[in-house]
């Protein structure tokens, strides 16, 4: 019974992190139509900015969220305004744009990863932060804090989409860009903001992840793959789906890890492929 409880709790905590890693990707694909293979690289950037500020000015990692989020958001805005906007204008159809933007983001993966390597080196880094454990299940405090942040961010994000004018514009653009534009939405700005928000969330996720796991400039692709699995699981473009998908994958991960840790990655891919084949639209897909 205790083992079951531990698996469940670990899975839930891990799921929260997976959800956080994935929501940004879902937003980038769902609205801006960019399947960003470089998503994980920005998680890595967020993690390293946090690590670097902790080392240089001893800034609390949870405070540095306020800096990494906006910093990566601005990177995303600039990237969309220069790179993806131009691709969109020159592509004859949405399918072509999706293909090209995916390839361009693969180039971006190289650029970001290698810039980071030049700046921060390729060593494994890490630090201890709130890693005392609480309760009978021996849950590390930093995981609980991370989960708390995920929930707060999720609610804030939901309110932003549901209640604000910009949120409404984003939802309209996700449904139909053309109609949204006809209704007076500045579509290019909305797409750029969505792409930026997606990256900003990746940056925040990176900050939180650096409190939990060791970081390295090459960790990006692993997180991208997790985010892709989660996003397909929940339905491409659905924010709620990404949250649910994250928790499901977290539970699967902790279960498989309990029995045979080396099969975890295989379990991800098997779920992913079975799901793609049986229900490509995902759990919350339309």
């Amino acid at each position: 019974m205790n083992a079951f409880r531990d698996i469940f709790l670990t899975g839930l905590l891990l799921g929260g992190i997976f959800a956080l890693v994935s929501v940004g990707l879902s937003l980038q694909y769902g609205v801006a139509r960019v399947l960003n293979v470089a998503h994980g690289e920005f998680i890595m950037v967020g993690a390293f900015i946090t690590f670097w500020m902790l080392g240089s000015i001893n800034l609390n990692p949870l405070v540095s969220l306020v800096i990494t989020g906006p910093a990566v958001f601005i990177m995303g805005l600039i990237l969309h305004k220069t790179l993806f906007r131009r691709l969109m204008d020159t592509s004859p159809s949405l399918d072509v744009f999706e293909g090209k933007s995916m390839l361009a983001s693969f180039g971006l993966l190289y650029v970001v990863q290698n810039l980071a390597r030049i700046i921060w080196g390729s060593d494994v880094e890490g630090y201890n932060f709130l890693n005392s454990t609480v309760t009978a299940a021996q849950i590390p405090l930093n995981r609980l804090v991370a989960l708390g942040f995920v929930i707060v961010l999720g609610v804030a994000f939901y309110l932003f989409l549901a209640r604000t004018r910009l949120g409404k514009a984003i939802r309209a653009s996700a449904q139909s860009p053309t109609t949204a534009e006809l209704m007076g939405v500045n579509i290019h700005n909305v797409l750029a903001i969505c792409f930026g928000l997606g990256l900003g969330l990746a940056g925040i996720a990176g900050s939180l992840l650096s409190t939990l796991f060791a970081i390295q400039t090459s960790i990006g692709l692993g997180y991208t793959v997790i985010a892709m699995v989660v996003v397909v699981l929940g339905g491409l473009g659905s924010i709620t789906g990404a949250m649910i998908g994250g928790v499901i994958l977290g539970l699967v991960s902790s279960t498989v890890t309990f029995f045979q840790p080396s099969l975890t990655m295989i379990a991800y891919y098997v779920i992913f492929i079975v799901l793609l084949l049986s229900r490509p639209k995902g759990i919350m897909g339309k």
Partner: protein, 316 residues
């Protein structure tokens, strides 16, 4: 008038191809060392790119599974290294890749657009992890050793595979399958309604293109003495052919070959001049190529050529 020019053009093309063929066939007799090594690399990528274009070019299905078939070739060469002669290994790799691709294709080709790309992307990583796990449990090792073949032998092997790839690509393009694939790419429902067996066409061409990827893998594996799943199933092998095809242009088969040659050569120069910045510059080149050359080098050349010739012919 028009037919005469057509035949003359065709004659020139055939002559050029024959000269290129002869030069490539007799090159190892004249030089050795770096030129041959570079050509092996170029031919390898030319095979992967052309094989990718055969299926993904006309159909519009962006396959990122190249590394899976290429890596399978690696493993066939490694597992049966020493038990079978080199040519048999290469043929076996092609056959295995064909069968696997038939299975994968039958399962996945009903996925459309970005889902197909994601699926094939994940497939490479799945195969990589499964092989890693099998090796861990069964052989309790991570990598394997491969018997090497002389550089000249590898060169001729990859050259023969390249010629086979080009011939097959041309034949498929000219056959009913090529036309069918083209119409699937334009409008799949319409193609199905006009009597094309959509599933068979897609799966079969997908599998045929995988043959050459597997063969190339088996040949190149002998260039390395040691392989492991991370080397064999590398995502770069999936993405680079796509980028090379885009870089060269996909309107005809010369585009992918030119793209692969230029791209490999540029990569080689970058690697020797700026070993630290290699990947960074590479990424920048990729992004710029996607941004500014929508029809590839060939498209760019055609545009310039049309400008030089002026208004003699109406633009197509």
């Amino acid at each position: 008038m028009k037919t005469i020019r057509m035949t003359r053009n065709r004659g020139i093309t055939l002559g050029l191809l024959l000269i290129a063929f002869l030069i490539l066939a007799f090159l190892p007799q004249v030089t050795s060392g770096y030129v041959i090594t570079l050509l092996i690399d170029i031919l390898k990528f030319a095979i992967l790119t052309v094989a990718w274009v055969v299926f993904s070019g006309p159909s519009g299905y962006m396959s990122l599974a190249t590394a899976a078939f290429y890596g399978l070739g690696f493993y066939i060469a490694a597992v049966f290294s020493g038990t079978f002669p080199f040519p048999v290994l290469v043929i076996m790799a092609g056959a295995v890749a064909f069968v696997v691709a038939l299975g994968v294709g039958a399962l996945t080709l009903r996925l459309r657009g970005v889902y197909f790309a994601i699926f094939t992307f994940a497939l490479v990583l799945l195969v990589q992890n499964v092989v890693l796990e099998i090796e861990r449990v069964v052989t309790e090792t991570r990598g394997r050793f491969v018997d090497t073949v002389s550089t000249e032998g590898v060169y001729y092997a990859i050259f023969i595979v390249f010629v086979l790839t080009m011939l097959t690509a041309v034949l498929i393009r000219r056959s009913r399958y090529g036309l069918a694939l083209q119409s699937i790419g334009e409008y799949e429902e319409a193609a199905a309604h006009s009597g094309i067996n959509v599933v068979r066409t897609k799966v079969l061409t997908f599998a045929v293109s995988a043959i050459f990827m597997g063969m190339a893998g088996a040949v190149i594996a002998t260039r390395r003495t040691y392989i492991d799943p991370y080397i064999a199933f590398n995502l770069n092998t999936s993405f680079l052919p796509v980028l090379m095809a885009m870089f060269g242009g996909m309107t005809n088969l010369a585009g992918p070959v030119i793209g692969a040659a230029l791209f490999t050569y540029i990569g080689e120069i970058l690697l020797t001049r700026f070993p630290d910045l290699y990947m960074l510059i590479f990424g920048v080149v990729l992004i710029l190529a996607i941004l500014f050359m929508p029809n590839g080098v060939l498209g760019l050349a055609q545009r310039v050529w049309r400008k030089i010739r002026g208004g003699r012919r109406a633009p197509a």
